[in-house]
Symmetry: C2
Subunit: 257 residues, 2 copies
DNA sequence: CGAGGGATTGAGATTCATCAATCTATGTGG
DNA sequence: CCACATAGATTGATGAATCTCAATCCCTCG
């Protein structure tokens, strides 16, 4: 799928979401911030930006002025090999943090591309150390989100290293199904928005897009799921989890203390 | 390789290493603890334990009373699939933290097995929240170490998802070479202790031990490296890094602020 | 309505897994 | 100290999973 390498973030001029009225704050870095602290804490967030689908928002090896909270839409974090091959490391969904790394000013260790139109809340990196020192519950929440992402990353390692093509795709779809469910509370009729192309699925699972195509056909014929244009319909989520050896609990964020 | 599933940690009765005299403290969780804080901070560490090679020290799905700092030796962190297949998630080396996860009392998300005789510094989980609240530079260091591990995990995902057998093994050996080098400052004659069996290498790279054997033979014949019993000799580290597309900097720990 | 990008299908090549046998090093008990 | 047992390493033969190349189809969008 064609990716636009020019980073263009469009600042939202009017009607930016205010943190105190944010409907997904319980998913984000600011989850535990007390109401009375929210006004000064949210000063560390700068603009909200909109970005079109298939635009790069972070580039490996380049520094980035901001890190982001994904407010709306889907984003793929990935790395590119010298051969041009691409590995998708994780799919970010609303509430997720994009571009955090402990050396805040170093070049990015991975890239990020939007899979759909998205809205981002930007945090200037330069201000992060101060925020983390001043508001410990933000620092704590950051650890928790990182820990969840580590867990997901390790499970992905497991699935790519040890499972077959059909199992890997079953795992991926199960993971995304349960993550979407945990964000919105439910998945209407087990049908959901799913902006990954077959090539994206391949880059996430370590398969070629052609083999992904054949494998999706098998999953369709065995009545596990159907992937059509930007759309996933799950027929048998239990069977899918079993096939992919996926445990729904891994998508949960756990509290540090 | 046979693994002993019974966890048996042998407490060191005499001559335990005191944190203030620890020769690898600069690598550990206590790196940044000020001298004057070290006495109370180190109270949160309980016993040191010795464990023989090929013993399990953490078990997936079971809670663990302790988390550990690896003081001496090598440990493999891994997950097991319902099919019995095993994926090694990372190789822990001295200074590394074993068994941290943000939900401290939950069952472990992965197992750990010693690859050599090891010495562990144990931290009772129950005391961790208090430690992290009381000593912020420990909390900060924990984030930094976790961030480094995340970086290593993502690179491993990349190598397993996108590279060939010989590239994956080149990557693994490069990674371990540079990590050992960063711990001890140098690797004498490019020869080092290397307790992974061919089966371990396979479980770390998503290959069968038979294919690992053939691939090691190729690496030997192409004069990149030689792996003999518990021993790795590197002939051409630059070529190896290039082959595996390995960037030495990924093993570094970066400061959070 | 035409162009372009993704999806689909087929054929053939390649990599890696599986099965099976042998070899070698190490440690143990007699 | 030797014989044996055991586990890991090595090699060969075969087969399956997945990749690569190539062609065509189909949908969307301008």
């Amino acid at each position: 799928m064609k990716v636009d390498k020019d980073i263009d973030l469009n600042p939202i001029e009017h009607n930016q979401t205010v943190c105190s009225e944010c409907s997904i704050r319980h998913l984000t870095l600011f989850q535990g911030v007390k109401e009375e602290d929210l006004s000064w804490t949210s000063e560390y967030r700068s603009n909200q930006f909109t970005v079109a689908a298939r635009k790069e928002i972070l580039s490996e090896l380049e520094p980035s002025e901001y890190m982001f909270t994904l407010y709306h839409g889907w984003v793929a974090m990935y790395k590119t090999l010298n051969t041009g091959k691409r590995q998708i490391l994780r799919i970010a969904l609303p509430g997720d943090i994009l571009g955090f790394q402990s050396d805040l000013i170093a070049p990015m260790t991975h890239s990020a591309v939007t899979l759909s139109d998205v809205v981002l809340c930007a945090f200037p990196r330069a201000k992060m150390p101060e925020l983390l020192r001043r508001n410990l519950c933000v620092a704590k929440r950051l650890s928790e989100l990182n820990s969840r992402d580590m867990n997901i990353c390790q499970n992905r390692l497991m699935t790519i290293g040890q499972q077959s093509a059909i199992e890997r795709i079953a795992f991926l779809c199960s993971e995304l199904y349960f993550r979407v469910k945990s964000i919105y509370g439910s998945v209407q009729d087990d049908e959901m928005f799913f902006p990954l192309s077959q090539e994206d699925i391949g880059d996430a699972t370590g398969l070629t897009k052609i083999h992904v195509n054949r494998t999706l056909k098998a999953l369709r014929e065995q009545e596990f799921l159907e992937v059509t244009s930007k759309h996933l319909k799950i027929h048998d989520i239990e069977g899918l989890c079993e096939l992919g050896n996926f445990a729904p609990s891994i998508v949960n964020v756990h509290s540090l203390y």
